[in-house]
């Protein structure tokens, strides 16, 4: 029990130190510093939102179109940037393996957590800003929104855990990942409501766990009028095996990792 406690202390210390290190190397200490992490998702969401507003008018699926796009796009950008940062994260951080208390999982976990916190901050910021102009509703159920984020994040972590070691094992995979990342767009649930799709299409997209997370999030924000479609158990039957696979792959890669 005592050694478990000690191990926990070391791991939290290491993760904290790694997060601060990652933030300083990526964003520096000048001007707004680590708040830069919000800028990219904010710009993405706002610009795409305005594009939809111009193309389709003010309302989509009975809710404000900008709010709808933002609520789908920020989680999608979160998924995409987490996966692209997971690629080659071991080689890029090889020098950290000089310190034995730093585990290879810490590297993935830290990058994932930074992306998650940054994008959640962006989401909150944009919701408050739009809400001030009456363009974003008061959330119908904050708990459901958080639960949706949790499912979406768990899926993202599971994929990152698999992608990071695979990108080290094969160069072909490393090159293919950005493309598959893009192919994820229709299967992330970002740009539609499952309830508005043809039954056949809805059946297909519900095979993808992030769609469930997205529907929960939107239910939490917009309420029952959007007719949310989700399941609590099914996403986990995909996410958990992927996580287990990722852990095994990480172990294999650690054994072969060549550090300069």
């Amino acid at each position: 029990m005592a050694s478990l406690r000690k191990g926990w202390d070391i791991q939290t210390r290491v993760i904290g130190a790694l997060m601060l290190r990652e933030l300083t190397t990526r964003f520096g200490r000048e001007n707004i510093g680590f708040l830069w992490i919000m800028v990219e998702p904010l710009l993405f969401a706002v610009l795409v939102g305005l594009l939809w507003r111009a193309a389709k008018g003010p309302v989509e699926y009975g809710v404000d179109i900008i709010a709808f796009v933002v609520s789908g796009y920020i989680p999608l950008v979160f998924f995409r940037s987490t996966i692209s940062r997971a690629v080659n994260s071991f080689t890029a951080n090889g020098s950290l393996m000089y310190h034995r208390q730093i585990k290879i999982l810490d590297l993935i976990l830290v990058r994932f957590m930074i992306e998650m916190i940054g994008h959640m901050m962006a989401y909150l910021f944009i919701a408050l800003a739009l809400g001030a102009f009456g363009l974003f509703p008061m959330p119908y159920d904050v708990g459901f929104m958080m639960l949706g984020w949790l499912y979406y994040s768990l899926f993202t972590l599971a994929i990152a855990l698999v992608v990071a070691p695979l990108s080290e094992m094969s160069e072909v995979l490393e090159k293919i990942i950005p493309v598959t990342n893009y192919m994820m767009v229709p299967f992330s649930g970002a740009f539609y409501l499952v309830g508005s799709l043809y039954t056949e299409a809805a059946d297909v997209v519900l095979y993808f766990p992030p769609v469930h997370g997205m529907e929960m999030m939107r239910y939490g924000v917009f309420g029952p009028s959007i007719d949310p479609q989700y399941d609590f158990v099914y996403p986990l039957t995909i996410i958990l095996p992927f996580m287990a696979l990722g852990l095994v792959l990480c172990r294999v890669v650690r054994r072969r990792l060549v550090v300069e």
Partner: protein, 215 residues
């Protein structure tokens, strides 16, 4: 005590694999200063990386019953884009030491002054070596793993290193890879010659140096 049992390590090359370590047995006891001798490419750095846990051996076991430093060398263990101080802060955090003490020691030991506020990638190799020694001495280990950087830098720094490592920390174990036979015979009390992936231990350092010279 740190004991290596039948360590094997190979690396992938363009075609097939290259066996670097082919069954290394080595025990480092408390307070021993072990020289690691061998020609370039004999596997000295590879062995030190396995002992330090930087890389994992293909097979074999390493038992660690004392704390060991990371391999101290010209690179590794640093983040080049961070400043000397930031690196010190990071090391202090992950090893659970107070940054104030760390900072004071690093400033005093390295004598690098304002350079510590610059990114480590701008440092000369001598400056890197100073920082590397300062960081690992500030943490305190039972066993120091030193890869090629022993007694570098100017006279003044060499004296300081000598004092901190071999006088103040005379009770610590060390594994030192070096081609500087003068230093080796002066400092070490045991030696290991690496040849064709096999380690041969010598209790008499002079005999080991003779063997090394004949390689």
């Amino acid at each position: 005590m740190i004991a290596c049992q039948d360590l094997h390590k190979s690396y992938r090359t363009g075609h097939g694999r290259r066996d670097v370590l082919k069954g290394i047995n080595l025990t480092i006891n408390k307070g021993e200063r072990v020289a690691l001798l061998g020609r370039n490419g004999a596997g000295k750095s590879t062995l030190i990386k396995q002992i330090g846990g930087v890389e994992m051996p293909d097979s074999g076991r390493i038992m660690r019953h004392m704390t060991n430093s990371w391999p101290i060398g010209f690179n590794g263990g640093f983040q080049g884009s961070l400043t000397g101080f930031d690196n010190a802060r990071f090391i202090a955090r992950i090893y659970g030491r107070s940054y104030a003490d760390m900072r004071e020691f690093v400033e005093e030991f390295t004598e690098l002054g304002g350079v510590l506020k610059m990114p480590v990638k701008t440092y000369s190799s001598g400056m890197r070596a100073r920082l590397a020694f300062a960081l690992s001495l500030a943490i305190e280990f039972d066993c120091y793993l030193i890869d090629e950087v022993i007694l570098v830098g100017d006279q003044n720094f060499q004296r300081k290193c000598h004092h901190e490592l071999f006088e103040k920390r005379a009770d610590r174990a060390m594994v030192i890879a070096s081609h500087d036979m003068y230093t080796i015979s002066d400092i070490c009390n045991r030696a290991v010659v690496l040849e064709n992936g096999i380690a041969t231990g010598y209790d008499d350092v002079t005999a080991a140096i003779e063997r090394y010279n004949s390689l």
